[in-house]
Symmetry: C2
Subunit: 341 residues, 2 copies
């Protein structure tokens, strides 16, 4: 039994309480500076405000002001902040960790002005070289983890011993863990899937626009868009230096995000023809990782294409989602580009 | 405008009438020797008995007894028989074609006693070396094609000119076509997806067994199984000599088959714990390509593993579906094998 400190009381960080506590670890859920209300509500009710079941017994809850106490004796720290908290985590948390390793469930990438794309573990290590950053990717949404629907995820990191220690603490009979050293591949793959899930779910809205809201779903177009997403993800993950097994981790994550992630909401709205500002207004308060990563990756690829390093025609779906989010482009699937000539 | 002769009035063969006729080709739908009733019903009502919309105007219907007439002047023949009609097609149709090329939409593989797996085009060419066989793979179910839900499919064949002629006849604004010479990869990929769709949809039934029929669907387990299917398909298609783009064709086909194919019915039933004989009884009259291909591929891989050519542990999901169909194995997902150690 270990001491697991989770930073970030959003849905995913909070969901990881369940397998961690299932294995009788000491589990300390620490809110970020934005999570005080969630922590207060959890202390009061024993339940996360967005979950439909109670937290397991014996979880310890902390405001971030008590972080030093929550860190004391910890075997590892789970980073459960959103993309918007990545810098905060670098400044407020990483410097305090010393030799305590991190297991990050934050999904996304950063782009530099020259078009370079960095995974979050790489970014954190650029800021804090001594930090040991492992990360989680794969087919796992918070709702479903809480519901104990079985899945397999990948933990990636440089040090096999650390990964094995984390797996021992976290693996349950509904949360299986595969280990890999391919941080770049796993993290690129599961970041990209948010952009591609957005692309795939546009077809749901487009279908509704044609046939009326609530009409029977159609799957040919979803599936063809999924195949295109798979193709572009494979190409990008390889280009970024990741390996093929990590692409499958992303494919599983893409699948679950299409069906039960928050990305489906925005993709469906924009597919219906709702304008971006109206869609964002309707979804106020929901963290849309898809938009963050689509803008960053789209911008980076456009820059790389301008420099002749890649051909943007190889990524028509990424080009589409970037165009929709930044250039007011219409949500129409470029099927002919997907088919190629 | 061309003359397109479709042999096989099952659902997929009949669905291809729609894009073919959309482009004003002369379209001749020829029933196999088992399809006389469907042809009679189509002549009488203008609709396929299993479709909810009428055939387009101007389609010509033929019993197989009139095949010579239906073939006269034809630019190409679409083969729309099921796996059970592959030998019949080799004997009754191929010898009559001369230089008329075939476009096959039949999905599946055959295994030889030494564990060799053959795609149907390869098998037909072994029987009839002079036949020119092209084939269709990708995210396209018959229901959805008839509903004009947009998609992209792949046409594969050795001769680019033939493929371009077929595409010109068949491509519409809801049915886009990509061309490839990788017959082996496309055909293996879209055959294998029937086995893996069976594997993925087991999780739907398993979830219902745990939570009650009609319970809310859960997607973590579906997605993790999908990722495993993707991984095994990739490995097998490569092992069989196919290329990576063809794997994505199979991924799209896997996706659509999980959601709107017939395979979902048997996978869900067996996942619930219904015995194989009871499930087959419930689904009497439905062509289950998944069972055919799972048995053949599973048997071939076991043979190859026994000969030391592959490691069966690399294919735990194929091993599971084979075991369920031939060895009365329980429908339980081997998550730990998927995660690996």
């Amino acid at each position: 039994m270990a001491i697991v400190t989770i930073v970030g009381a959003g849905m995913m960080g909070s969901a990881l309480v369940f397998p961690a506590r299932h294995n009788k670890n000491t589990v300390r859920l620490v809110g970020t500076v934005l999570d005080d209300e969630i922590i207060d509500a959890s202390v009061k009710t024993g339940r996360h405000p967005k979950f439909t079941v109670d937290f397991p017994d014996g979880v310890e809850y902390y405001h971030f002001s008590e972080f030093d106490k929550a860190l004391h004796g910890s075997d590892f720290v789970i980073c459960g902040v959103s993309s918007f908290g990545v810098d905060w985590f670098a400044q407020a948390v990483l410097p305090k960790l010393g030799k305590i390793p991190v297991l990050s469930v934050t999904k996304g990438m950063l782009d530099l002005p020259d078009g370079t794309l960095l995974t979050y573990p790489e970014y954190w290590n650029s800021v804090c070289p001594e930090a040991e950053i492992c990360a989680i990717g794969g087919a796992c949404t918070s709702y479903e983890l809480v519901a104990e629907d079985p899945t397999v995820v990948a933990y990636c990191g440089k040090n096999r011993d650390t990964l094995q220690m984390m797996r021992k603490c976290m693996e349950t009979d509904y949360y299986y863990i595969t280990l890999t050293e391919d941080i770049r591949g796993v993290e690129a793959s599961v970041a990209l899937k948010n952009a591609y899930a957005f692309g795939v779910t546009l077809t749901i809205g487009i279908n509704e626009k044609m046939r009326g809201e609530g009409a029977k779903q159609h799957y040919n177009s979803q599936a063809a868009a999924f195949a295109q997403g798979s193709k572009e993800m494979r190409s990008l993950v390889r280009y970024l230096g990741g390996n093929d097994d990590s692409i499958d981790v992303g494919i599983g994550d893409l699948f679950v995000t299409v069906f039960s992630g928050r990305t489906r909401l925005i993709g469906t709205l924009l597919g219906r023809g709702v304008s971006l500002p109206d869609a964002l207004k309707q979804l106020e308060g929901i963290t849309l990782e898809s938009n963050v990563v689509s803008e960053r990756v789209g911008r980076a690829l456009r820059k790389q294409a301008a420099d002749g390093r890649i051909n943007m025609e190889d990524y028509p779906m990424m080009d589409l989602v970037y165009g929709i989010l930044t250039e007011n482009k219409k949500a129409e699937m470029p099927w002919k580009s997907f088919a190629g000539r």
